[in-house]
């Protein structure tokens, strides 16, 4: 089992969700985050105050998957999130020790496999 974490552009989040759906990856959490990964800084001006916006809005996906699903998940993320410009984000894959489905108490592989499969 792995936990796939992806930081993507907010405007690509819908495309990512659609790509994950096509890849049959159903269990997803997302959160809005701010970060900086090397993209152009925006310069904004409010009356006399000019600022560089060093943090950009991003969306963070967290997806727990069984090992067979790691590559399809990564492919879907690349497919949905890539624009080719600096600032498309990152994917991190980390080992996952345990997963438990709260409703049933199912553990690990069964817990990260969608109901009905």
């Amino acid at each position: 089992m792995k936990l796939v974490i992806a930081i993507v552009r907010p405007e690509q989040a819908n495309d990512v969700l659609a790509a994950l759906h096509r890849a049959d990856v159903r269990g997803v959490s997302i959160s809005r985050v701010q970060g900086h990964g090397g993209e152009l800084e925006r310069v904004e001006t409010y009356r006399g105050t000019t600022v560089k916006m060093a943090l950009a809005d991003k969306v963070r996906f967290e997806i727990a998957v069984s090992d067979d699903f790691v590559d399809p998940t990564i492919d879907a993320l690349l497919d949905g999130a890539r624009t080719g410009e600096v600032g498309d984000g990152k994917i991190f894959v980390v080992p996952l020790e345990r997963a438990v489905r709260i409703r049933t108490g199912e553990a690990d592989r069964a817990a990260v496999t969608p109901v009905g499969d």
Binding site: E11, R42, V43, T45, Y46, V51, K52, A54, T83
Partner: protein, 429 residues
């Protein structure tokens, strides 16, 4: 001072207030529209209305007022009032208020009408191009149509009645919006993603302020404190209330829930519907008009998003269609006993319906064709749209360098000693 002897102080006092009420409708519209778009386009959407407050006031003072309200031919006015020449404290012929005030009142109409068209092109039109469009449109479209019904043009001479702007405001903005949506084309995500209103409270507050301002819009269009103004004022209360009630019923039938954004839309539709008829129909007829106005607009608002026509904020449904209905309604329900001017078909004057139908055909044709051509010609000189990338980022940051909801987190102050550098890429991965 023979010229000022005919000034009516009460009428002048009311028209000063009415003008301020109508001016407030443009920022109210900005709020209404800003609530209906995504958060990343909030400022840009509002700034389209603010652009009209600046540019259209200037064009109307310098050229537009003359083209609408000075002596000319049946199609367009002349240059008699160019640069406000001769517009002073003497009464405007046909009224008992100073022409200077008459001009200011009419200017607020031109401003909001131009701002209304922005609803068709929000979230993707390039801001600088939109500003140029405002200038050209406010010279070539609004004054011509205002001349037709109010400035001594061919519709006015033919007998068409339009109390507060079914022709130059409502049908003009609605059918111009249709043309603009066709030329500028759909947003890149239209039909692929759900593009939802980001703040329904703005929409409700904007609609409420629009209704409030509309009392000046319709109530002021009698240019007096006499019967037409009182009738129009009260009808502006009655008609939108009936539209709201019918809209609630339609919502309940369709989904068993009454929607807030639907209610805000209903207020606007009702105000639009009564606008041309406000001083010409009885209070009960106004209530019927308000109720009827809900039906075609509701249907179009449901149907339009299923098409490829990204007329984004439904200016055609809310203004074009409801204005069309209001203009025709006069032809049936006008009552001389209430308005002192003319009867409609139901009161024995079938000819009035013909006059109204003529306006209901000619206005959409001119507004659509003129706007279509203006934008096609502008497109030869400058891009109409932002790039796809800019559309993704959002027009607030791209066009204005500001955000409506800036958190301030991660903002690094650029001090005067540093100077303002162009954006630099750091830590290229």
């Amino acid at each position: 001072m023979a010229a000022t002897a005919a000034i009516d102080p009460a009428a002048t006092a009311w028209m000063l207030v009415a003008t301020a009420l109508v001016l407030m409708m443009t920022p109210a519209l900005g709020l209404f529209y800003a609530g209906l778009v995504r958060s990343k386009n909030t400022l840009n959407t509002f700034m389209m209305s603010v652009g009209a407050l600046g540019l259209v006031t200037v064009t109307f003072a310098l050229i537009g007022y003359s083209l609408a309200f000075s002596h000319g031919n049946g199609f367009v006015g002349g240059f008699g009032h160019l640069f406000l020449h001769g517009v002073g404290f003497a009464p405007r012929p046909g009224t008992r208020i100073p022409e200077l005030l008459y001009f200011a009142f009419q200017a607020t109409f031109c401003i909001i009408t131009a701002a209304l068209v922005s609803g068709a092109v929000v979230e993707r039109m390039r801001y600088r191009t939109f500003l140029v469009f405002l200038v050209v449109w406010s010279i070539l479209v609004y004054p011509v149509l205002a001349h037709w019904v109010w400035g001594g043009g061919w519709l006015q001479h033919g007998g068409t009645l339009d109390f507060a702007g079914g022709v130059p405001v409502e049908m003009a903005s609605g059918f111009s919006a249709l043309a603009a949506a066709i030329v500028v084309r759909a947003r890149k995500d239209y039909g692929r993603q759900a593009l939802l209103p980001h703040n329904a409270l703005f929409v409700l507050l904007g609609a409420g302020l629009l209704w409030f301002g509309w009392f000046g819009f319709n109530g002021g269009s009698g240019f007096s404190t006499g019967r037409p103004s009182v009738l129009a004022f009260t009808n502006t209360l009655l008609a939108p209330a009936c539209t709201l009630v019918v809209w609630f019923v339609l919502d309940l039938v369709r989904d068993r829930r009454v929607t807030a954004i639907g209610a805000a839309t209903a207020i606007v539709v009702g105000c639009v519907g009564i606008t041309p008829a406000a001083g010409f129909v009885s209070p009960l007829s106004a209530m019927l008009l308000g109720a009827l106005a809900a039906l075609p607009s509701y249907a179009l608002i449901l149907w339009r998003p299923r098409t490829r026509l990204d007329e984004t904020l439904d200016v055609l449904a809310a203004h074009g269609v409801a204005g069309f209905l209001g203009i025709l309604f006069i032809g049936f329900f006008a009552e001389r006993s209430w308005n002192g001017v003319a009867d409609g078909l139901l009161h024995g004057n079938a000819a009035q319906l013909g006059h109204q139908a003529l306006a209901a055909v000619a206005t959409p044709a001119y507004a659509f064709a003129a706007t279509f051509l203006i934008l096609r010609v502008l497109a030869l000189f400058m891009p109409l749209r932002a790039t796809e990338r800019e559309e993704s980022i959002g027009m607030d940051v791209v066009a204005h360098g500001e955000e409506a909801y800036a958190s301030g987190e991660g903002a690094i102050l650029i001090t005067a000693e540093d100077g303002i550098e162009p954006p630099v890429a750091v830590a290229q991965p």
